[in-house]
Symmetry: C2
């Protein structure tokens, strides 16, 4: 394991891949491993991106990574979206472009399975981010499909959150209702070569000004950036600039209190995740045996016992 740690710190791609498999599949070793690399983390800018399937997130991230490489930045990409081309489900053209990117020694791309991550996807993703962080990637781009609670949790671990929408019916309204507008640091209207793009960008800008805190002094103003994926791509340079501006904003001593508060929330969420896993995968099995479980479940099915009382009886030993 010592060797693995050393080689991850040297940014060896095979070691990084191995380390991420370890955090995905071996919770016990993961814990030891994370403890060892933990002191080397905290340098990367973690950029969470979220948007519905079909919004062209992966291609956008691909183009963004190319732009950051031009600027000499090293880039890690983690795709948590099972429908992402990064995860393999791609049109051939996309795949080829992404393969080119991943051949770059200063780029590392990994998709996380939505099933099969022992100990929860959120926890595994956070630890995978940490592996890339320790490996010294300047930027870590995390792609999620962003419609579910767990995906929103993953995005919340990012320093900078990009919400991606496309022109179409009610996108702006849906963003508000889904509560994703309020998590955005940057809003991107992708596929802005399509009809209705200017309109949705205008709507979003308007909606963002309606936030009562929108004009508070020293507050980050959420920009709306229009991008296209089809060559000639547009908006990518502006998006890369804006991400780096947000980094500057977060590192500004004037915003230290805000940045610290956000970091407190991120770490609290992470500890919550670890506790959740610990309780459900370890503690619960030690509290209650298989036969006892069966008896309780049968009593609930036959309505002798309601589920709340069942939960209480299982947790009883904890309170003794």
């Amino acid at each position: 394991m010592e060797t693995l740690v050393e080689r991850v710190l040297e940014r060896n791609k095979r070691a990084i891949a191995k380390a991420i498999s370890l955090v995905e599949n071996h919770p016990d070793e993961c814990e030891q491993f994370i403890k060892k690399i933990f002191p080397y983390t905290g340098k990367a800018l973690v950029v969470g991106t979220t948007g519905p399937p079909g919004s062209g997130k992966s291609t956008l991230l691909n183009n963004l990574a190319i732009e950051f490489r031009k600027r000499g930045k090293t880039v890690g990409i983690i795709a948590v979206d099972p429908t992402s081309p990064f995860s393999g489900g791609a049109l051939l053209g996309d795949r080829i472009r992404m393969d080119e990117l991943s051949a770059d020694p200063d780029v590392f791309i990994r998709s996380m399975g939505s099933r099969g991550s022992l100990g929860g996807l959120s926890r595994a993703t956070m630890d995978a981010i940490r592996v890339l962080d320790a490996a010294g990637f300047d930027l870590i781009l995390v792609e999620t499909v962003g419609a579910g609670q767990s995906e929103v949790e993953i995005v919340r671990t990012a320093h900078t959150t990009i919400v991606i929408g496309i022109p179409g019916t009610g996108d702006a309204v849906q963003a508000i209702k889904a509560g994703i507008l309020e998590i955005a640091d940057i809003y991107v209207v992708n596929k802005s070569d399509r009809p209705g793009a200017d309109e949705i960008a205008r709507e979003l800008r308007l909606l963002l000004t309606l936030d009562p805190h929108a004009k508070d002094e020293g507050r980050w103003r959420v920009p709306v950036i229009s991008t296209t994926n089809l060559p000639p791509v547009s908006g990518i340079i502006e998006l890369a600039d804006t991400i780096l501006q947000h980094q500057v904003f977060l590192n500004d001593p004037k915003n230290a209190a805000l940045a610290f508060e956000q970091e407190m929330i991120r770490r609290k969420n992470e500890i919550h995740e670890i506790i959740k896993v610990e309780i459900f995968e370890n503690m619960l099995t030690s509290l209650i045996g298989r036969q006892e479980w069966e008896k309780i479940l049968k009593d609930v099915i036959s309505k002798k016992l309601d589920p709340y009382s069942a939960a209480k009886s299982i947790m009883d030993p904890l309170f003794r």
Copy 2:
């Protein structure tokens, strides 16, 4: 509260609405309330539906509810999708159609907030289903956006799960990758008036036969049903028939063992949800004070303490 229970059992719409608000916002009273109505539950067929935004789920459910009403069935609808027209974010035409439906005394429609449910959305949704069940609705249709882990959990509480897709790039592949094909009891290709519909239906049927257990005797064969939302709607009668066939299948004494096993899993998931809420909203706050939390988080941020050790130190009192 006794009065509220009685009036819910009489299927009084105002009482039902009040009861669902109670399970959403008042965890303590909820527990008491659920204990009281619990003996009256277990009669409804709970149908979970999931599909991406834009797949026309809400309109399909609307049409399905109308079909079931024609057959004399009472119908409850719970929309867990924040982008659902049932939740208010609708085109005017949709809204009007849904308002007509909800004016029917034997139909109850409710959307669940994706935020603001104290004690977790999954738990609140399960209890809302229970309220409608106690109120004597024959069918309870639950709509989720289905891309996230919590949404899949919600769908897993259903007796019958419908996965909805639309013609378009790689829908079949995406369904497999997202692991939603394996939760489907019925697969619907909606908007089947669009090009590519026959192709995706064919692909899905092929994929479903690839399941090694697909030909096991006595097993439910997952059908693929093509539907349209635009008048004249098609496929709805077949879909309604199929849902009721699945109910017959589940109630067949030959399948009693399977049905019981599934019910065991559902109840186990539900008890897990309750335990999760209990631990994070009650137990954790009693284990660790605000100041202690702050100290731990600061130590993690300054890298004096790694998150795994932090989680352990918080849970330590549980093991003494």
